[in-house]
């Protein structure tokens, strides 16, 4: 029972990271039909933000690791958002609805960004100092829950709430949903799809940046930190249904749990294999994902 609850907790915290990574992916894929393989490097960019704040400008923050970490959350959002926006403006905006082309191009970008990180920060992994108030742990029914992981779960819950409120109540959010649901109809209704794409990309990339800041609480970071999450995040997007928030949430936690339990019962690599088999089996029954709707164009 106790190990079950322990794995449940690990699955929950893994699922919440996957969720925040996958949300950005599903928005950009659902809306623009582009596959951004460099999304993982936006996580990486976010992860290096608290590192830079702590090591390079640590003096300005009085050497306070906790303050630097908190400041990194909005700054990581902005840095990754801006990086994503540059990618969107320079490359992806020219490749709307060409998923395979974007897959290849962004794979190249992803490798370049990883190399850039190694040039800037060195080839070996670095540590971000966790705030002291996150170093404790809770024990409930014998399950050990580190504060850092609880913090991540709470952070993701807040972010998902904010994103969902943004989508349903803000004019910019409504425009995003409209473009996602029918791009041509949005254009002929006077919505600038280019501008909406930019908003979407900034938001999705920014979320990856925050995820990057969050994963520094779990372990050391390096140029590969994002690559470790990206495949699972793509699986979440596929299982959840493109551009769907509800499906993405269910799929993220489902895959997080599956990951945690299968790795516990077997080994890490066998666990991954089980995960893939489960996803493939699932797609036999629901090829469009958990939740799907038709996105229709007007010109076919």
């Amino acid at each position: 029972m106790q190990t079950f609850l322990e794995q449940l907790f690990i699955g929950l915290s893994l699922g919440s990271i996957l969720l925040i990574v996958a949300l950005g992916l599903t928005f950009t894929f659902g809306q623009m039909g582009v596959i951004n393989m460099a999304h993982g490097e936006l996580i990486m960019a976010g992860a290096y933000v608290p590192y830079v704040l702590q090591t390079k400008v640590g003096g300005a923050l009085g050497g306070r690791a906790g303050l630097a970490f908190l400041a990194a959350l909005p700054i990581g959002f902005a840095v990754a958002g801006a990086l994503g926006l540059v990618m969107e403006r320079t490359v992806l905006a020219r490749m709307v609805d060409r998923p395979l082309d974007t897959l290849l191009v962004t794979f190249g970008i992803s490798l370049m960004l990883q190399q850039a990180a190694r040039d800037l920060f060195g080839a070996s992994n670095v540590e971000v100092v966790a705030p002291s108030w996150l170093s404790g742990r809770w024990e409930l029914l014998g399950v050990v829950m580190p504060h850092s992981r609880l913090f991540i779960i709470a952070l993701v819950a807040v972010l998902v709430g904010l994103v969902s409120a943004f989508l349903s109540t803000r004019p910019e959010g409504r425009r995003m949903r409209a473009v996602m649901q029918n791009r041509d109809l949005a254009a002929i209704s006077g919505l600038s799809t280019r501008r909406v794409d930019a908003t979407t990309f900034f938001l999705g990339s920014g979320l990856a940046g925050v995820a990057g800041v969050a994963v520094t609480l779990i372990g050391s970071i390096g140029s590969q930190v994002g690559a470790g999450y990206i495949i699972d995040a793509f699986l979440v997007v596929i299982v959840g249904g493109l551009g769907k928030m509800r499906g993405t949430i269910i799929a993220a936690f489902g895959l997080g749990m599956l990951n945690a339990f299968s790795e516990y019962w077997t080994s890490a690599s066998l666990g991954k294999a089980i995960l893939f088999i489960a996803v493939i089996a699932f797609l036999q029954f629901r090829p469009n994902g958990l939740v799907s709707f038709q996105t229709r164009g007007l010109t076919g």
């Binding site: 949903r177 041509d184 109809l185 254009a187 006077g190 919505l191 501008r195 709707f293």
Partner: protein, 239 residues
Amino acid sequence: MSGLVVDDVRVAYGRTEVLFGVSLEVPDGSLVCVMGRNGVGKTTLLNTIAGLLKPQSGSVSFDGSSLAGVGAHQRARLGLGYVPQGHAVFPQLTTRENLQVVMERQGRRARAASLRQQDLDEVLDLFPALTTLMNRPAGLLSGGQAKQLAIARALVTGPRLLVLDEPTEGIQPSIIHEIEDTIAKLHAAIGMTILLVEQYVEFALRLADRYAVLDAGRVVSTGLTSEADPSAFAELMAV
């Protein structure tokens, strides 16, 4: 000339040519109807006018200026309101949101909120059925309701030219009647310029001042509806 001018437009999907040099004029204040059998390229023509498709040659101009290089959303802002064929609504947005998202688009924020409410009220007056469906996702509306919403969506932007693609297709007679009344009202009362694509010949001839018949990617017949012989269309429209 003010109004819409389509001049010798050629359009292809990849290598498949669909329009072989179509010319059409929709003068300010007129109501022009384009007819033609299934697959002759009516929707292709309208999508080209709206800026969703690029012609290989030829031009589209609106109020005297060429629309070459002008994107679909900019054409909408120039006053081109387009109601595409079929279920042309945002399915996961409610009826209200479908209208809201179009009214609050970028660049229109400066307009006073009260003025917008007035625009909305005016449009809803034309489609009273929508007022009870404001909170329903548009994907759940019936074909007739969705069509009314699509027309309302085009109207809330205050277009100077309204383009309608087969508004009666698959719609029950009573709603066709309402739509006919609405189009007639818009044309007569505020002199709105309208380009209507329709296969329902009697409906089209009752409404339009002028007609053009499209066949195999070309305009094969044009004229005044008052001088048209409805039976002559039977052959041109037969599949």
